[in-house]
């Protein structure tokens, strides 16, 4: 009961303190918002690139282009032989006709190519074997195996493209993550300084009250409590603003992602919504703890009157 009473008063003092230094409070909240936004953008970048890597991996396959003259029997024999390799998940035979229809479908919006095709009187494409590796991260071994197969019906091999693409995405992702991490760290550091300074100024503004509180025997918790509560309030307010602004941003972003990830279901809003507490709850907790520590240090240092 006495505890609740004191807590109530501490919270009241904290609000008075926030209002008395309203501009400083706003700046504090603003910098907290920037920090939290940068952290969440970093998370979003990671989620999106994770999904991008996923889609590319889905498409990772190795093509063996075959001669148009190849007999169906020898093709099937080759297919069987490749299927038996340990690193192969699946082998699919794409006939010449199938290749053509897929090509036409992919270029349906490109009248010049369609026109050029029509002018050719025969199918320019070759049949192929599409091989899916079991492990999409590392299929060097499989490529070695495939290189060893020397069948006359093989016209050409296309091994590297997808791997390059994956490496590229991984590199870009790593780069963005590193930069994002550095930016977030910088913001966190600035936040620490700002919170520390805010509490310092708040203590300065309240120096008379604090002196009197000490004089009449108020406990340390009563003197420092309001600054702790203030830093939790700052964290809470900025977290709420960030959640609101961030979902607004995600809503604008989602249509672009949908065109980018056609045929692959990825919803960034659902991602953040599904992990709401794990992401925002944890961020709030972390922000509050860090801010409380900063204000405790400031209060400990400056509230001895």
């Amino acid at each position: 009961m006495a505890f609740l009473l004191s807590l109530g008063r501490i919270i009241k003092f904290s609000f008075q303190d926030i209002i008395r230094n309203i501009w400083l409070s706003l700046i504090t909240v603003m910098i907290l918002i920037l920090t939290l936004l940068s952290v969440n953008l970093l998370l979003a970048v990671r989620a999106i690139s994770g999904a991008a890597v996923g889609t590319v991996k889905e498409k990772v396959d190795i093509n063996l282009y075959l001669r148009t003259t190849a007999e169906r029997d020898s093709i099937m024999a080759l297919k069987a032989r490749i299927s038996s390799l340990s690193d192969v998940k699946e082998v699919r035979y794409v006939s010449q006709d199938e290749a053509l229809s897929v090509f036409k479908r992919d270029h349906v919006n490109d009248p010049q190519i369609i026109e050029a095709l029509r002018e050719l009187d025969k199918n320019p494409l070759t049949p192929s074997l599409v091989i899916k590796p079991t492990n999409t991260d590392d299929f060097d071994n499989l490529i070695n195996e495939l290189n060893k197969i020397d069948d006359p019906i093989i016209e050409s091999r296309n091994f590297e493209d997808n791997k390059l693409m994956l490496n590229k995405i991984n590199a870009i992702t790593q780069r963005i993550s590193d930069v994002g991490f550095a930016v977030s760290l910088t913001f966190m550091f600035i936040t620490l300084l700002v919170i520390y300074n805010t509490v310092r100024v708040a203590i300065y503004t309240h120096r008379n009250e604090i002196a009197i509180m000490r004089l009449v025997g108020a406990s340390n918790w009563f003197i420092r409590g309001p600054f702790l509560v203030s830093s939790v309030i700052y964290s809470l307010v900025s977290m709420l603003v960030v959640i609101f602004a961030f979902f607004l941003f995600l809503n604008l972003l989602q249509p672009y992602l949908e065109t980018f990830f056609t045929g692959y279901s990825f919803n960034i809003i659902a991602y953040f919504g599904g992990n709401f507490w794990a992401i925002f709850g944890l961020e709030l907790l972390a922000a509050s703890i860090v801010n409380m520590l900063a204000s405790l240090v400031a209060a400990g240092k400056y509230s001895h009157v």
């Binding site: 009473l5 009250e209 004089l215 009449v216 025997g217």
Partner: protein, 226 residues
């Protein structure tokens, strides 16, 4: 009630504020502490309320050895000692009553108790008709009486007054001294730090005289000698 055993206080190794002082003040006494500027009077007050730590010696307040007091016990010590200063230390944006109530609020007293105690102490200091005014709307003497009221909310056994009349004219000063005497008559031990020769001489009470950090005289019915 207050006992000093060979107390010394050095601010820096070479600034000696209090030099090997011993005395004993019994419960219910009214003691004046006099001496020139910079002789360590305020330092003694700070030692008594735990704001400064003695460099040497032992200090007892109400049987409590406060040379070894822990930081977390200091608030409890302060609730047993009322302190007033020359500059009143009132909050300008609170009424006199709110200033008194503040002392109770920040120590977690329930509202019902605050509503009872605050007007009571305002009545003791004779301000029951002005308690809703702000500090800038009352005289210096009335401000000091408010500070005294605030120092009384925990019914302290000791009241330390560090030059309480320093900012007041002689009429207001005399009123404050009369109030301190009244509080003393209820049984509270009063230590009055003052520069005011007339006041000390009129009191006919015990006088401790400091000079350059040392206790140079302790008279049961004293005069202002320096």
């Amino acid at each position: 009630m207050i006992k000093l055993k060979n107390i010394s206080k050095f601010y820096q190794p070479n600034v000696v504020a209090v030099d090997d002082i011993s005395f004993h003040i019994k419960p219910g006494e009214f003691v004046s502490l006099v001496g020139q500027s910079g002789t360590g009077k305020t330092t003694l007050v700070k030692l008594l309320i735990g704001e400064e730590r003695a460099t040497r010696g032992e200090l007892f307040v109400g049987g409590w050895n406060i040379t070894k007091i822990s930081q977390s016990d200091i608030p409890y010590l302060r609730r047993q000692i009322g302190v007033i200063f020359q500059d009143f230390k009132l909050l300008p944006k609170k009424t006199l009553l709110e200033n008194v109530a503040f002392a109770l609020q920040v120590c977690g007293k329930p509202m019902a108790k605050i509503k009872k105690i605050a007007p009571q102490v305002m009545k003791i200091v004779g301000l029951e008709n002005k308690m809703n005014r702000y500090p800038h709307e009352v005289s210096g003497g009335e401000k000091q009486r408010t500070a005294i009221a605030r120092s009384l909310v925990y019914q302290p056994k000791i009241l330390l007054a560090d030059e309480p009349t320093g900012n007041l004219d002689s009429i207001n000063a005399q009123e404050i001294i009369d109030l301190l005497l009244k509080i003393n008559s209820f049984g509270t031990t009063v230590v009055l730090v003052t520069h005011n020769r007339d006041i000390v001489n009129k009191l006919h009470r015990r006088v401790l005289t400091l000079h350059e950090g040392r206790l140079v005289s302790d008279q049961a019915v004293g005069k202002y000698i320096i």
